[in-house]
Symmetry: C2
Subunit: 411 residues, 2 copies
């Protein structure tokens, strides 16, 4: 590892017992098996330094485990996506001041480009020879694309019964897509096995996970900067493993500590689909333990039945005065169409879940509609077209004449 | 029309006879039926003014027919997409200094968001009550989404035999998708008929076309700014109607006149698919007239058999020392995979055409591989997945065990 390979990162530290080890391709504490995360020695960082940086996540490089020359390495240049004022959606839901953070316009159309960019930097610094992941969708796209651009061999593992269009959307970037006879859990287990057997493999969400996960902090940094260096009052975030929600909270806390935003209370809300809602169920039951479930929902990118960071999500949502809520698949579909028709943003099922949960939170009085609120859209609807293909379609089919059109009454 | 509704635009002027008329919802010269375009009285504009603007096309508002407060109107905030240094693609093609302007990361994943944003501004200033277009794809998405966000009624006309996924990708944004029994030409004719019969309809590519077309200039402005306020030596642009190519050239000329970049020679190249190559055929034959063709190519977003701006494309490519070239559908497919596997960019068939033509131009000695070159990617591969679904797929299908994986030889 070269000097400064991880910027201001100091060590890996255990989230459970606090044990520290040097930076390396590790993810579990050698003392207690708790999850490792990155600890930093941050220097003074100013708004002006950040604003002078590139228009992508590397403007925050001082706050990430990446080298100072990270922009020089070929990478996807993700992030700094739009924060859109959602006048129409806000009016429809009765929220005065609503924003959508739209990560569907990232290079491979989901927030995964952020985390994969940080994982790629770590893999490069560790001289990994293969960049890999198990995935059924967004992560596979992001890994295969980023690896292609960086010129590192990628191997992407998917369940063999994955729909053909989803296979194509990853296979176009890599000649080493591997179909595995089994479900996602089988694929995931195989990935851990290979990570243990092979030297020089960086599995983004396994052995370089601590670096990877830090990428989600950039969502939080961007929201604060795009609001004019302020934190929102309330934020609604989808929950799969729970990592994104915990990292956005971490980002807000870091910005406060660094003096980049003023300290203020904010409420964090988690969104799940009813068919995979272990965190929401625990939240509502008032318990601390997450009981794993077998997922059954159209929100496949949120379908993690045993979420690694679920207990931290519970802590954060409870401490900040937020909540965790879930909605049905039909409500997910409705919310996708609602967001498209009010703001012109076509979201995938994960975003439908988040917007639908926002709606339910207002209706049930759990979210204050007079406070400034941000909702995160993590991915693009083109990836989950089937979810709404029975919901929307032509209003009329006509002959190519003005008379035929006039008869529809649409004019 | 309110004061300043069109910014620094002065009048509509005929591209053929120079006749000027006041700004209004007109598109054909009343004297000679030539195409109208926007004439401006530009004030002094500085790089600093532009750089202080928003990170979207409105940073160039002083050079567009839009009001000074355009950012205040709800809009899709398109543009300022990535200009990526294409190290790997350049190496593969033998080009020393190659850039990809990647418009697939626009809000609805194509360059059409730029032109539609300008059309929407005009429609708003003309107090249009309906925002409409005939389209088979990218334009339909962009119009339906932008209209939804702006809160104006949209009506989008498509051929009734359009594939279901493409219908969904527009219908999700609008409750007034109209399927027309006929081909695209029939749909287009119907649109012109409705534009003539109904008051208050803004058909983006018909009666507000002069405003709409100006949006493509922003591609040229951005490339120059992102290169550090310089023009490239060579640029390769896809040709459908030919409007985009002529507008990028216009943008470069304006930047020179305004003193925002240094004057220098640059070569403009047009890219077509062999199955719809009327401009390329005329270029190669050394003639000035375009003979219309019946399109037959997978590059559907380029399939305009009678391109309105084809003759201007010929002029520009000849005057600048560029060329117009075409490639087969198989070469389009190969180029899509090539771009994905070298740069991690998944392009639609139009981008495949452009990259494939770039390759052919180098191979045939028509483009100088030692000069700085930009190639434009206009849209996202998720919209034309079928084009490559037979080209790419899993390298192996295995059982979920390390032994099964090791046997593939991929490690």
């Amino acid at each position: 590892m070269r000097e400064g390979a991880f910027g201001n990162a100091r060590a890996l530290t255990c989230r459970e017992c606090g044990h520290e080890i040097p930076l390396g391709p590790h993810y579990a504490c050698s003392e207690c098996f708790g999850p490792l995360e990155i600890a930093y020695d941050f220097p003074a960082v100013t708004r002006e330094q950040i604003e002078a940086g590139p228009r992508n996540i590397w403007r925050y490089k001082a706050l990430l485990p990446v080298p100072d020359d990270i922009e020089q390495s070929p990478n996807m240049e993700p992030g700094f996506t739009r924060l859109l004022k959602a006048h129409n959606l806000g009016r429809t839901l009765g929220i005065d001041n609503l924003w959508v953070k739209d990560d569907s316009t990232n290079p491979t159309n989901s927030f995964k480009d952020r985390v994969v960019a940080c994982a790629l930097s770590a893999a490069t610094e560790f001289h990994s020879k293969v960049f890999a992941c198990p995935s059924t969708g967004n992560l596979a796209n992001a890994v295969a694309a980023a690896g292609a651009r960086a010129g590192i061999k990628t191997v992407v593992f998917i369940p063999s019964n994955l729909e053909k269009p989803k296979q194509v959307n990853s296979a176009v970037y890599t000649d080493s897509l591997v179909a595995v006879n089994g479900n996602y859990d089988d694929v995931n287990r195989l990935a851990s096995e290979i990570a243990g057997e092979e030297d020089g493999w960086a599995f983004v969400n396994v052995n370089v996970r601590p670096y990877y996960a830090e990428g989600s902090k950039t969502l939080g940094y961007e929201i604060a900067e795009q609001l004019g260096w302020r934190l929102p009052d309330q934020i609604v975030i989808p929950v799969a493993s729970g990592s994104q929600l915990t990292k956005v909270h971490k980002a807000f806390q870091e910005l406060i500590k660094l003096g980049l935003v003023e300290e203020k209370p904010y409420k964090v809300y988690g969104a799940q689909a009813e068919g995979c809602s272990p965190v929401s169920v625990a939240y509502k039951a008032g318990v601390d333990a997450i009981r794993p479930v077998k997922p059954d929902t159209i929100a496949k990118s949120l379908a993690i039945g045993n979420p690694a960071d679920g207990i931290y999500v519970l802590d954060i949502c409870r401490e900040t005065g937020g909540a965790v809520e879930d909605i049905t698949d039909d409500q997910v579909r409705e919310a996708i169409v609602l967001l498209a028709r009010t703001e012109g943003i076509f979201t995938e099922t994960a975003g439908g879940t988040t917007v639908g949960v926002l709606k339910k939170l207002v209706e049930t009085g759990q979210l204050d509609p007079t406070l400034e609120t941000v909702v995160i859209n993590t991915g693009h609807g083109l990836k989950t077209l089937d979810a709404v293909s029975d919901q929307v379609g032509p209003a009329a089919t006509i002959d190519p004449s003005y008379a035929s059109f006039a008869a529809t009454g649409i004019a």
